[in-house]
Symmetry: C2
Subunit: 344 residues, 2 copies
């Protein structure tokens, strides 16, 4: 398996290093060979060559079976004319990974980490499917001194293809999709709802579908998180709702993501950012990144066994009380990673 | 005081009726005269004359000291070419109430209603200031069969005027403003941040200002809600974040709002919607509406004493264990309202 390896910025570098270590150990155990091609990306790439997504990095990513990414960004590039985030958006777009899968689970016995009352945090197991290559993120912009404009554009085909991924995922889970929009105000949301309904009737009538407005969803996610199975939504709503949902488990540092397109190739990154406040201190939680690496083994490298092996080792570590500070543990990123490697 | 009274649709009618009752009782107690001009609005107005904001209603609102509004919308008008919500947006725009104030408090002893752990829900007292007449809500739209487009537009002047309201509010509270945007992606957010910073430096350097990305804010609101004082944000982010924040107190039915412009005239509505699922059953929680009515007395009718009298009666009722089903109580909308009237 050829892996484009993009540590990026801030804690991205630490957690990506952790993932590489665990992947190497797991691959060795199973006699599988992995090739890591490390590339410069994000703020680090701006510093090196003025471009957050250098041509060379893009080429390596397009030729790989999967891209494993840490995180990008930081205050250092806040005022810059070109931002690390542009590299990330450019990469998502270049890879055409239009469906971002963000599973959120509160494992049995882990409810204590959640800011929610135990009875509400129990049995949370949802999957957010976020459209990743359209909407406000990729519309035309106008940026003047006194007026600014962003455009949100969706085509029916863009909605249908990501909705299909959500329905397929639901069939393998509890068979329910909640599609989130703001159809009482936005034209793009009405198209969204319409396209989702159409596909549902045509190909997925066996899946239970309902629609929820984004404002109502931001409440329900906290009031009744265990009531959801698959949550399907557009790019910006997905950004907000998946970060919100990540608190359910106690820390955004625990949450992985996989971004997929039509082929098998995918982009894998934790949902947390570069966390400049704790970068370089060994405090970063590697779990979200490690779970992303496991998703990569499963979805892009066809190594479901290795994926499960990594996931189980993580579960055992957490169940044994190991963990970084964000979930009240005493481990460093490194010590937790080493423990997981040893117990694979 | 001249009040344009717009019950609207669904539970809006029930809670607006409750507010009228309490206002009449309180005004009588203080020897103040209130004039209620009831107008048809929203879905009800579509049914009556095909327009959610009839000219007559608009005129009455523009001539009033304040507009008291229940809620609009419902599945009945979901497929309609004209929607109840258009009336609401039209009214906000006609009144030019660009600043929507949404206070969220968890009163001492009421932490049990919150889905959050007690220690996290304690001491929550924040004010969301949401821009209400710009952004995606009022941009150009294109709505075709296969493509849809919404535009998000902000001018510097629009940002500055609402930011001023937030800074002024902060000075009367804990002196801190958190401005929320998505400046790492959106042009409008960069203009937002820039205009807020500029006004801060020029006129409000005494207020502590920080900026947060909307995705991070959706987490922090749940992880550390007591850390915020005033939260300033644009229209759609404010819609999502204020609904999210309303859960902190246990029920969206408890949350009031005031929408203000440059003059004293304001629009007052609870932040909950028309709740078609429970409409007409007497189950609606009147508290958010009653607190909105109290805000009206304070901000638009210059009757701070009456406002406090209503607020205190509500607090006493809740402290005495009275309340509707959404907060685990046994009251109907009516019985709770009567109790509050009696104990004013
Ligand atoms: C860094 C930023 C552009 C990105 C996004 O908004 O998509 C991040 O928040 C995420 O969720 O992956
Ligand atoms: C009904 C709807 C248009 C409205 C909005 O989105 O502004 C509502 O959700 C609110 O928050 O007042």
């Amino acid at each position: 398996g050829k892996i484009a390896f993009l540590p990026g910025d801030g804690v991205g570098r630490e957690v990506a290093g952790a993932a590489r270590k665990v992947l190497v150990a797991a691959a060795q155990k199973y006699g599988v060979s992995l090739e890591f091609n490390e590339c410069v990306f994000g703020g680090a790439a701006i510093d090196e060559c003025g471009d957050p997504l250098p041509e060379q990095t893009k080429t390596v990513c397009l030729e790989a079976d999967a891209v494993l990414l840490g995180a990008v960004g930081g205050p250092k590039w806040d005022g810059a004319t070109i931002r690390p985030e542009q590299g990330l958006l450019g990469l998502r777009s270049a890879l055409d990974v239009y469906a971002n899968l963000r599973p959120i689970q509160v494992a049995k016995g882990m409810e204590g980490f959640s800011p929610l009352k135990k009875e509400i945090a129990t049995d949370v197991d949802l999957l957010i499917v976020r459209e990743l290559t359209g909407g406000l993120y990729f519309g035309k912009r106008e940026e003047g001194m006194d007026t600014a404009r962003d455009e949100c554009l969706y085509t029916r085909a863009e909605v249908t293809r990501v909705a299909r991924i959500a329905f397929e995922a639901a069939r393998k889970r509890d068979g329910r999709v909640t599609s989130v929009d703001k159809a009482n105000v936005l034209a793009t949301s009405r198209l969204w709802r319409n396209a989702v309904n159409e596909l549902h009737e045509k190909d997925y009538a066996d899946v239970k579908l309902d629609h929820m407005l984004v404002d109502a969803m931001s409440m329900k996610l906290i009031q009744a998180p265990s009531s959801f199975d698959v949550v399907l939504t557009e790019n910006l709503f997905g950004d907000i709702l998946s970060d919100e949902a990540s608190v359910l488990s106690g820390s955004i540092g625990l949450a992985p993501s996989a971004s997929l397109g039509d082929g098998r190739r995918g982009l894998y990154e934790p949902i947390h950012g570069s966390a400049p406040d704790i970068a370089g201190q060994g405090k970063a939680n590697p779990v979200g990144m490690l779970l992303s690496a496991a998703m990569m083994m499963r979805f892009s490298l066809d190594q479901a066994e290795i994926a499960s092996c990594i996931e189980n080792a993580i579960s055992r570590a957490l169940a044994a009380g190991r963990g970084t500070g964000d979930i009240g543990g005493k481990d460093s990123c490194m010590s937790l990673t080493d423990y997981i490697c040893e117990t694979l």
